[in-house]
Amino acid sequence: MNAAGRAGALSIRNAGKIYDPEGLHVVALEDVSFDTQPGEFCVVVGPSGCGKTTLLNSIAGFDRLTSGEILLDGGVLARPGKPPLPGSDRMVVFQQGALFPWKTVLWNVTCGPIKQGRLGKKTAEVEARGLLARVGLKGIEDQYPGSLSGGMKRRVEIVRALMNEPKVLLLDEPFRALDALTKSVVQEFLLELFDEAPKTIFFITHDIEEAIFLADMVVVMTTRPGRVLKTIAIDIDRPRDYRVLTSERFVRLEREVREAIHDEARKAFEAGERELA
């Protein structure tokens, strides 16, 4: 775990992205730069339409940049002109969920290492059962995702991502559709997994409380054009549980992030009003 734990330094340098459908020239990202240390939990917060997902898609290899570059452990992931290329070193947990509904949980979870030829079927299944049990999902291996609850699906999807031993885990508002109680349960499972084996995590949300609860570093982004407004180190000791939510330090950090983001949210809202008008 140490060797793998060392890897995962993500470096975003002057990243820019301009969408130009029919000459509209929408600047989604402008001069975004920040670095994450290996094994750091980095959460990006910002109002809707601030380019968070565009940034994540560029890291994941679904989208290309129009300026700047993104490096992972010194290797170039994205730069203008480079065709996007997804890879199992950067696993994505999608906002709307992407478990294959026509395959069983066990198939979903083991397919990565098996398709990559990294693990045999038997070994992958033993490992998968272990990880599923670890997040409280024993005995659901042969079910189809359609019969699972939202919180269970999210956990299965996180397990599927971790099975690939990625250098970076990318999560795009993964808990958005969950109710508050389920959300806090799944957050705690994620934190437990993270504390056991720290891994670079790039997590997108617009929920400030969630951001601070999970993160080592919170990156606040501005509304369009998406820029980095502020990066805030979250110096709350780990392991964390729900009790830190009411601690004095947490409340202070929350106020700091909220103040940074408030004006931006307002701008985004007014821009939306203008677009509608």
């Binding site: 199992s88 969920g97 509904p101 397919c111 990565g112 398709k115 609850s149 269970m152």
Partner: protein, 291 residues
């Protein structure tokens, strides 16, 4: 934490366990559905009996009666030579079933292959879609002369026409099915390191399956329709041919028997396609149950 979650997991496991068929039948009998089915069929036959046999209503009195038709059907020595006990009856059934099954199987394989290709490749779709949309609305009856010119013998044109009807439906539904798959599954597959072959067999085909099976059910109906049409025109055997022949020789009871047989076979074949679909798409059981 685990304590809170345990009951949720258990409930889901219980839900997924399929009930044995005895319990399922008992549950079905307790619902109102089978009784309405029986009642509906009963009312249908009763109206036939009243209109034709009893009241001999105008325009209906020429038709074969319910009693006469059933009597002919179960007669070991039928007046017009066709009943449950004659070899000729099964020869016609076999001729038609053979044609429908061959046409349907070929249409399924070719239709799915071409539909997947059209959904997968933008170039292939661009090349073929306009042609498909132009050929598809041409009624099967209009294809009959061309089929006779193009295909040798008597059997091939009939199978060809039957095939054609199912073919277009299968292509179109497969294409729609492939296009309906959410982009997110392709992204996930690429991230997970799937090869293009794996994407085809583990994402595209299962993802398009619900649409494909809707298409196959429609295709099965289309098969029977065009089979009968082409048998009437150019057949020497088969149920469609027999319907026309019995009309020509004024053997109306037999005509009704053959029509009823066509109906039963059509119903049965659609049910088989549906059962096969449910078997292959057990992952949709819960979605279909509306839970």
């Amino acid at each position: 934490m685990a304590q809170v979650l345990a009951p949720v997991v258990k409930a889901d496991v219980a839900f997924r366990t399929a009930a044995p068929w005895t319990i399922r039948i008992r549950r079905l009998l307790r619902s109102s559905r089978p009784y309405y089915t029986v009642l509906g069929i009963g009312l249908f036959f009763l109206s036939w009996y009243l209109l034709v046999d009893i009241f001999k209503v105008w325009r209906f009195r020429e038709l074969p009666g319910l009693v006469a038709s059933i009597r002919e059907w179960v007669n070991p020595d039928p007046t017009y030579g066709v009943s449950l006990f004659t070899a000729e009856y099964y020869a016609h059934i076999w001729a038609s079933v053979y044609r429908v099954v061959s046409a349907f199987v070929i249409a399924t394989f070719l239709g799915i292959a071409i539909g997947v290709l059209m959904g997968w490749s933008r170039i292939f779709r661009g090349l073929t879609f306009p042609i498909l949309e132009m050929l598809r609305p041409i009624p099967i009856l209009a294809w009959i002369p061309l089929a006779i010119l193009l295909l040798p013998g008597r059997e091939a044109p009939i199978i060809g026409l039957t095939f054609l009807a199912a073919f277009f439906v299968t292509i179109l539904n497969t294409l729609l099915g492939v296009r309906s798959i959410d982009e997110v599954y392709f992204r996930a597959a690429r991230s997970l390191g799937f090869s293009e072959t794996a994407i085809l067999f583990d994402v595209i085909i299962p993802g398009a399956m619900p649409y494909i099976f809707v298409g196959l059910q429609i295709a099965m109906g289309a098969c029977w329709f065009s089979l009968v049409a082409s048998e009437i025109v150019s057949g020497q055997a088969g149920l469609g041919y027999k319907v026309w022949e019995t009309y020509y020789y004024v053997q109306y009871e037999t005509m009704v028997i053959v029509m009823a047989t066509l109906g039963l076979l059509g119903y049965l074949s659609s049910a088989l396609v549906r059962i096969a679909g449910n078997r292959l798409m057990r992952w949709r059981a819960r979605l279909l149950a509306g839970v």
